[in-house]
């Protein structure tokens, strides 16, 4: 006789009073497949937890974002933000789509070169660039975005010594009505520092000023901030043309577009509150187009969109390790993934779906990770069906930042798998091993033996 599926017994107190207009259920359907492959199959093949990236979603999102801008502005170029996810297979999907590379360190720069990005299509951002890295970038004709005066003078010295004139831009920070202002990067617009830097660069005669860059924040929720930023960059570009006799060839508006991930503490779901990419594109494109440039003088518009490009394509599959009840009666569920690999759970309330059938009965619980650390809380309160040990879940929208900001802390970092457009899965980063972790370690002679 076939036995019935088991669900642990539960009672739920019924509260009288006003109904919650948002309801309590968070999930109505299990997510059993990722791009046609059963979650159970992926976990059986690659272990649990495992990151899964949908190449189909990556490419469709790229094309959608590109289209949003290209249908509003004649010259658009995407540059893949390496820090968002620099697994080489991920980068190369975007490079195949036509994206340049945008890097913020020598490490990322070398990754971009290794992936086959031509040096003159690498944008080198960030506050730290060593002399050797700058020399490499100059030799490769990369676009070097200057972050501070010390770097500007360093670059002038190097250029003088190498007798080369590198292509440069400055990063500009500004008041766009979003606070706090990200003024730690680049030169300030309002107090005249940015203009001072541009003047010095041109007057040095050693650097080829070709662009202006800004990156006004992250997870931006208003389009007007981008209109203001575009307007201020246009203002600088116009002044460069009229006062410094230098044509600015491109405006790099950076990234910062949000995704439908809910921010912690947000009252309404993100999908109801964030503007669409089209709205951001309209704000930026219309500002530049209306500024007054002649058509032939319109600068190239570069975008370094990272988060919005890949977040939706990333999934984290995991399993329930245990259920327990806390001292105050709340249910706690311990998962086999924690903040060590799901770094974004520090600021998002990630959507989590069970990967198997469940009943309509739910319970509010705290979702913990496997780390023996009190900070390892994936969701402090989430309503889920009654999960049992071994049940599997899918965490949504984890493509951005997790596979770069993750930590090898207590546990190894897991496999990362990409599902290609024909539905085949490929391992693109293998789980770490004890040997891999210990490669950089060295043992002094006097500590080699232990007797207890």
């Amino acid at each position: 006789m076939t036995k019935l599926p088991y669900e642990r017994p539960q009672i739920l107190k019924m509260n009288a009073g006003l109904m919650n207009k948002y309801g309590t259920r968070t999930e109505y359907e299990p997510v059993k497949h990722i791009d046609g492959i059963p979650v159970k199959t992926l976990i059986a093949k690659y272990g649990s937890p495992v990151f899964v990236i949908s190449e189909r979603t990556m490419r469709s999102t790229y094309r959608s974002i590109q289209r949003s801008f290209a249908t509003r502005y004649p010259k658009v170029q995407m540059a893949w933000s390496y820090k968002t996810n620099y697994i080489n297979a991920v980068c190369n999907v975007y490079h195949q789509e036509g994206s340049w590379g945008e890097v913020v360190s020598g490490f990322e720069y070398r990754k971009a070169l290794g992936n086959g990005v031509p040096g003159n299509k690498i944008i080198f951002n960030g506050p730290e660039k060593t002399t050797a890295e700058l020399e490499l970038a100059i030799n490769n004709d990369s676009l070097i975005h200057i972050d501070h005066f010390d770097e500007m003078y360093q670059l002038i010295d190097i250029s003088d010594r190498m007798n080369k004139k590198p292509r440069v831009a400055i990063r500009v920070n500004m008041d766009t009505g979003i606070y706090p202002i990200w003024d730690r990067f680049g030169f300030n617009y309002e107090n005249g520092t940015a203009w001072s830097a541009l003047t010095k660069i041109v007057e040095s005669g050693k650097l080829n000023l070709v662009g202006l860059h800004c990156h006004i924040g992250t997870y931006m929720m208003v389009t007007t901030a981008y209109s203001i930023a575009a307007s201020k960059l246009c203002d600088l570009a116009w002044n460069c043309k009229t006062q410094l006799n230098t044509t600015i060839q491109y405006l790099d508006m950076g990234g910062g577009l949000p995704t439908a991930n809910d921010l912690r503490g947000a009252y309404l779901p993100a999908k109801d509150t964030i503007p669409s990419v089209d709205e951001f594109a309209e704000a930026i494109a219309s500002t530049i187009l209306n500024y007054g440039f002649k058509t032939e003088d319109l600068p190239l518009l570069i975008l370094e969109t990272g988060r919005a490009m890949i977040d939706d394509a990333g999934f984290l599959l995991g399993s329930v390790l245990a259920n327990k009840r806390l001292s105050d009666g709340r249910r706690a569920t311990i998962m086999d993934f924690g903040v060590n690999i799901l770094f974004t759970s520090f600021w998002y309330e990630h959507k989590i779906s069970p990967a198997q059938d469940f009943t309509q009965h739910t319970e509010e619980c705290v979702l913990y990770g496997p780390l023996c650390m009190n900070i390892d809380v994936v969701r402090s309160a989430i309503t889920l069906p009654l999960l049992n040990r071994g049940d599997q879940v899918v965490v949504h929208r984890v493509g951005a930042y997790n596979m770069t900001q993750w930590m090898q802390f207590i546990q190894m970092r897991p496999n990362v798998v990409m599902i290609d457009e024909s539905g085949e899965s490929h391992l693109i980063r293998a789980t770490e091993t004890m040997e891999y972790i210990e490669i950089p370690e060295r043992m002094p002679e006097h500590l080699k033996t232990v007797k207890l």
Binding site: K3, I11, N388
Partner: protein, 80 residues
């Protein structure tokens, strides 16, 4: 483990505590356990019935039984 005598239960899982006015809803297996408890069936027999009827291990039944007891105690539905 004995349910308080005045607790009203139904097959559909509705539970009413006339002493406090609180009401609860149970999932099907929870409702089943409560009905058997009300009929005076011994916990060991109830657990055996669950093992026979459902696709579950004895360890899991034991663990979940303890947790269900804690829920009933917390809800003030058990005799002290």
């Amino acid at each position: 483990m004995r349910l308080k005598k005045n607790i009203a239960t139904s097959e559909s899982g509705f539970i009413f505590h006339p002493g406090t006015g609180d009401s609860f809803s149970a999932n099907p297996i929870g409702a089943d356990i409560l009905l058997q408890l009300k009929e005076g069936v011994a916990p060991s027999d109830i657990k055996k019935t669950i093992l026979d009827k459902y696709d579950v291990t004895a360890n899991m039944v034991e663990k979940d039984w303890d947790d269900f007891s804690a829920q009933l105690r917390e809800a003030n539905l058990l005799e002290l």
